[in-house]
C-alpha cells in the first residue's frame, strides 16, 4: 500500500516526467508522444519506488533492470532517468540531434541507465527473458521489468518469449502491456484485435493481472502481487490512454508520432499545473 505521502510524491514525479517529455519532444518538433505519455505513470512508479537502482552507480550489478521493448517511448524514459539524476536534465534537449546520447529508440550503448537496446518491435521481451534467466541461475535477488505495447503484441516473437518465460518459471520477470488501444494505423481493435489479451498470457502460463495504468496505487499493488509469485512470470495489462495528460493529443489516434511545436508543449505543460 502506498502512503498518501508516497502517492503524492509519485504523482508529482509522473507529472514531471510528462512535462519533460512534452518539452523535449515539442522542442524537437516531432516525436512519439502518445505512447510516451501512456507509460509515464508506470515509469514514475518503477523508478520512483519499485526498482532498486542507483543513479550514482548506473551499472550496479545487482540493480533491477528495465527493458522498454516499445523503444519508441524512449523520451519518457529519458525524462525519468534525467529526473532521477542518471544524467543532466539539460541533455534532454539533445534528443535526436546528430551525435546525441538520446536517440528516438532506446540504446544501451549510448544512454546512461538504459539496460537494453530496443526499437525493432517484438524483440525486447526475449532479451528480458535472457536477463531473467541469467539472474535466476546466478541466484541474484533482482527483478527484470519489461514493457511492451499493445500493437507490439502482434509481433510473433513475444509469444516465443511467452513460452520461454513460463517454461523456465521466470518469476523474476514482471512484464507490462501498455494497453493504450491504439497503433499507428488506427484503433488496435480495428487494425488487429488482441482479443482477450489477459487470457492469452494466462493461457501461456503467466500470472496475469489487469489494472488502470494511470492508477499508481493499483499498479503498485499489482507489482507486489507479481513479486509474490514463486514460479510464474507476470504480465500486468495496463489499461492506459495514449497521450494521457496532454489535451492536444490525448486519445487522438494520430498521436503515435506527432508534429507539435514548443508553444503547444508549453500550453500542455501549463495545463498539467
Amino acid at each position: 500500500m502506498l502512503t498518501s505521502q508516497q502517492l503524492r510524491t509519485l504523482s508529482d514525479f509522473a507529472k514531471e516526467i510528462r512535462k519533460k517529455t512534452l518539452y523535449t519532444i515539442g522542442n524537437l518538433g516531432v516525436g512519439h508522444i502518445g505512447g510516451a505519455l501512456s507509460i509515464a505513470d508506470l515509469l514514475a512508479l518503477l523508478y520512483g519506488k519499485v526498482m532498486h537502482i542507483d543513479p550514482a552507480n548506473p551499472t550496479w550489478e545487482d540493480r533491477d533492470l528495465l527493458v522498454l521493448s516499445k523503444g519508441h517511448a524512449g523520451p519518457a524514459l529519458y525524462a525519468t532517468l534525467a529526473l532521477k539524476g542518471f544524467f543532466p536534465l539539460s541533455e534532454l534537449d539533445t534528443l535526436n540531434q546528430g551525435g546525441t546520447n538520446l536517440p528516438s529508440h532506446c540504446d544501451r550503448t549510448k544512454t546512461v541507465g538504459i539496460d537494453m537496446t530496443t526499437g525493432s518491435l517484438g524483440q525486447g521481451l526475449s532479451a528480458a527473458c535472457g536477463l531473467a534467466y541469467a539472474g535466476k541461475i546466478d541466484k541474484k535477488d533482482r527483478y527484470v521489468y519489461a514493457v511492451i505495447g499493445d500493437g507490439e503484441s502482434q509481433e510473433g516473437q513475444n509469444w516465443e518469449a511467452a513460452f520461454f518465460a513460463a517454461h523456465y518459471k521466470l518469476a523474476n520477470l514482471i512484464a507490462f502491456t501498455d494497453n493504450n488501444k491504439m497503433q499507428i494505423d488506427g484503433m488496435t481493435d480495428d487494425i488487429m484485435s488482441l482479443g482477450d489479451i489477459e487470457m492469452k498470457w494466462k493461457s501461456f502460463g503467466w500470472f496475469t493481472q489487469r489494472v488502470d495504468g494511470h492508477d499508481l496505487a493499483a499498479m503498485d499493488g499489482a507489482i507486489q502481487k507479481a513479486q509474490e509469485q514463486s514460479d510464474k512470470p507476470s504480465m500486468i495489462i495496463l489499461d492506459t490512454i495514449k497521450g494521457k495528460g496532454a489535451s492536444f493529443c490525448e486519445n487522438k489516434v494520430t498521436n503515435h508520432n506527432m508534429n507539435f511545436d514548443l508553444q503547444t508543449a508549453k500550453a500542455a505543460i501549463a495545463e498539467l499545473g
Partner: protein, 316 residues
Amino acid sequence: METKEMRAVYCDTLIELAQADDRIMVVEADLMRASGTMAFKQRFPDRAVDVGVAEANLVGVSAGLSAAGKIPFAATFGCFASRRVFDQFFISANYARLNVKLVGTDPGISAAFNGGTHMPFEDIGLMRMIPGLTIIEPSDPVSLKALVKACAEHQGCTYMRLHRKAVPALYEEGESFTLGKGKVLGDGSDVTIIALGAIMVGEAIKARELLKQKGLDAAVIDMHTVKPLDEELVLSYAKKTGCIVTAENHQTAGGLGSAVANFLSQNYPTPMAMVGIHDEFGQVGTQSWLAEHYRLTAEEITRKALTLVQGTRRNA
C-alpha cells in the same frame, strides 16, 4: 586421420571452456541433437538453454544473457541463423554491442538431404553486412577447436559456420589460429587459391596437386576468417602470384569471392576467378552429388585456375 565429428569437437571445446569460465552457455532451438551439444547440457544443465522451435527468441534470449554478462553460444541451422533471424541478430545482438556467439550449422551443400529450404548459400553475405561482426568458417577439427576458443575470447558478436560431420584434420593438433589471420597451407608462385570451410579447403589442397601435375605451382590459403579479411595476406599473395581463385561453399556474390574482390579491386586489381554458387538455390542430394552439381570440386578449382593463369599470361 581425425574421424571425430566436428559437432563433437564443438561440444567438447565448449565443455572445456565452460569448466574454466562459468559465463559460457549454450543456447539451442530444438537442434541440440543436431548441433551435438547434449553432452554440454548433461554436464551443465542450467547453462544449456533450449528455447524450443523459436529462433527469434533464441537470438533474443542470447542477447539478454549476454547483457547479463554471459557468453552464449547460440546454434541453429545456418539458414535459420541468418535468413530467419537477421533483424534479431542485427539489432538485439550486434547493434546493441553485445557478445553473442551465433553458430550456423550445415553450411551450403552439407545440408544435403534437408535440401533447398535448409541450405544456406547466402548466410555469409548477410552477415558481412553487419558492421563489426567477425565471421569464421573452420576447415577441420583442429581449427574448429582453436576458433571456438578464439570466439569465446573475442569481445563482440561472432558468426561461425559449423560443418557438423567428420572431416579429415588438415592441421597438427595444437596449431594456433588467430581471428582475422589466414593460414597458408601450401606456398606457390603461379596462382593462389583462397579457400573457405570444411569442404573447399580440402578441395583446394587436392587442386594444388592437380595443378602441380599440369606444371603450375599453386599457393593455398585457408581463409578461416572471412571478416575481418586478412587483407595483408591477400595483398601479399596477389603480388606474389598475380592471380587468385577463391573457393567457397556459398554464393560467390556476398561471400569470400566478393570479399577478396572488394578489397583487391580498390587496392591492387588482380585477375580473379571464383568457385562457389552462382545465383542458385539449394536442393536435395547427397553432398557428393551436390558438390558435382554445383561444381564445388578440386577439378573445378583446377579448371578455373588453369584458365585464369593462361588468360593472365596471354594478357601480360
